[in-house]
């Protein structure tokens, strides 16, 4: 009885790790004040900045499972007359959580298509992608599926994509994780917490993801200027990586049909994505060029946001954006 009493007191007095807002921020389904995009089968955290009739710039964050918080400096493109769309992918960031079974191969591209349509104000409104890391892979996946989407996709800034095919993904991950020090504090801390917290619930899984998500040495991220985030989507991260590794993928089969120039913007220092690697990925597009930002690694879009923004603006100015109201 005494044990039961102690456990009851503990249960009442202690916080619940799974309650929204305790360890990780509430999502759109838990906080009605968050900006949102309502789709038939999910609610995404997202917002639009700038002229809604201007060329749509779809920002695509990294991950899978990251969020758009670190991309917000690119909102400055709204001052140029673009309709800049930020959104957290399905199950990621502050978007609605989903269980692993909800993620299938046809979902992500269709989500992106729906987001484009959600913010489309007129039929021939141009669309541009700015994707970082996983987001650059995501943009390529869409282009491979939909080409230029009826002439609407006029260009893409692809920053630091890891792979466009399963065969490219494995050696990339080897370079990335091969740089880890398995005897170092990073691995040690990640493993040691396993005995204290287990991912029994979405909130706990996301919390564990957030406190252990970190860059790897090969990426050469500046430890004094880390990227901010809202919530790591642990389930979507694990599920989509597993799907990619187990099922395989090839998002290059139709890229030859995409004729607009594609800009690859890479950080010079990233050893997991050296120049030859980005040139190899760029070669899947018929018209692509690789620009290297010196003295920075994988987080080029955050650590060199002014330079990244300037390169993006200059690139956009070379594109045919007729149909937009800029």
């Amino acid at each position: 009885m005494r044990t039961l009493a102690v456990l009851s007191v503990l249960s009442i007095a202690c916080l619940d790790p799974d309650d929204p807002g305790n360890l990780v921020p509430p999502t759109v389904t838990e906080d009605a004040s968050l900006p949102r995009i309502e789709l038939p089968d999910t609610v995404l955290h997202g917002e639009q900045m700038g002229d809604p009739d201007g060329p749509i710039v779809v920002m695509l964050h990294g991950g899978p499972g990251g969020d758009y918080r670190y991309l917000l400096p690119m909102g400055a493109l709204a001052d140029d007359g673009y309709s800049v769309v930020f959104w957290d992918h399905r199950g990621a960031g502050l978007s609605q959580r989903h269980d692993a079974a909800d993620f299938t191969w046809d979902v992500p591209v269709e989500d992106l298509r729906r987001v484009i349509e959600h913010f489309t104000t007129h039929e021939d409104q141009p669309v541009l992608f700015v994707g970082h890391s996983w987001g650059a892979m995501y943009a390529t996946w869409f282009i491979n599926e939909h080409g230029d989407y009826g002439g609407r996709v006029r260009g893409a800034v692809l920053s630091e994509p890891g792979a466009f095919t399963r065969d490219q993904l494995e050696p990339y991950l080897e370079r990335l994780f091969g740089s880890m020090d398995f005897f170092g504090e990073q691995v040690n801390d990640t493993a040691w917490k396993d005995q204290i917290m287990t991912p029994a619930d979405h909130a706990r899984a996301d919390y564990l993801f957030a406190i252990t998500a970190t860059s790897l040495p090969a990426e050469h991220v500046d430890p004094n200027d880390p990227e901010p985030m809202w919530r790591g989507g642990a389930v979507v991260n694990d599920t989509q990586l597993s799907m990619a590794m187990e099922d395989g993928f090839d998002w290059t089969t139709n890229l030859h049909t995409f004729t607009p120039e594609v800009l690859f913007l890479r950080g010079e220092l990233n050893e997991a994505m050296p120049l030859w690697h980005q040139e190899e990925l760029a070669s899947a597009y018929p018209n692509a060029r690789v620009h290297t930002v010196e003295g920075v690694g994988h987080a080029v879009i955050w650590e060199r946001r002014a330079e990244f923004l300037a390169e993006t603006r200059a690139y956009f100015n070379t594109l045919d954006l007729s149909g937009g109201t800029r």
Binding site: L7, L10, S11, A13, C14, L15, D16, P17, G21, N22, L23, V24, P25, F183, G184, E185, V187, N188, D189, T190, A191, W192, K193, D194, Q195, I196, M197, T198, P199, A200, R204, A210, I211, T212, P226, E227, P228, M229, W230, R231
Partner: protein
């Protein structure tokens, strides 16, 4: 004999102990452990056998990860074990093991009070022994304090305080070892899985145990 066997039940961190010569020695022993067990760890322990109608084995084990050695990360496990059924060569015993675990990173500090419950059974030869162990490991309360880094980079309004039941794990282990006079050597290996049967960052554990009977 039974008491010595029970020593193998002590705790999650280091409890591989032979039975064969325990009766010829005193009730106390000290031991050292090292291996891969939720990190690369090293630790020390002490055990004492009390005769209360049947042997009651008490132990305390403290270990720390040795990568970038830092006492802020540590684990202390107290254990009490007692036989349930036994014969000359075979035995099944139960274990209760209160614990304290702590991890401190640039994001947060988590200190967890928990308890492990388990059963260990197996064969005990003259010198060698082989045991299997099944158990659960539950964190009853975890004190979480968030660092400024977490508040700045992730979530400013994260709540500090005591959280209930942040983790539950099942453990399955295999112990093999031998004793030579006062010296005991053993290997403990196995797997810990979450309530949903998922493995952790390091899917297996394996630790070497070397003890000296006082």
């Amino acid at each position: 004999m039974i008491g010595a066997l029970l020593l193998s039940l002590a705790a999650h961190a280091a409890d591989v102990v032979p039975w064969s010569s325990l009766q010829d020695n005193g009730p106390d022993a000290v031991y050292a452990v090292t291996g891969l067990d939720d990190a690369f760890v090293a630790g020390v322990g002490y055990r004492h056998v009390v005769d209360v109608s049947r042997p009651l084995v008490l132990s305390a084990t403290a270990d720390v990860p040795w990568a970038d050695f830092d006492l802020a990360d540590h684990r202390v496990i107290f254990a009490a074990s007692m036989p349930i059924v036994s014969s000359d060569r075979w035995m099944l015993a139960g274990r209760v093991a209160p614990s304290w675990r702590r991890v401190s990173t640039h994001m947060n500090t988590m200190g967890a009070a928990g308890v492990g419950l388990g059963l260990t059974g197996g064969f005990n030869g003259e010198t060698l022994f082989v045991h299997g162990a099944l158990g659960s490991d539950v964190t009853l309360g975890t004190r979480i304090v968030h660092a400024d880094t977490y508040r700045e980079l992730v979530y400013a309004d994260a709540v500090d305080g005591w959280y209930r039941t942040t983790g539950v794990r099942w453990t399955g282990e295999l112990h093999v070892g031998a004793a030579f006079d006062k010296v005991e050597v053993g290997l403990r290996t196995g797997q810990a899985r979450s309530l949903q049967l998922e493995t952790g960052t390091i899917p297996l554990f394996a630790a070497l145990h070397v003890g000296w009977r006082l």
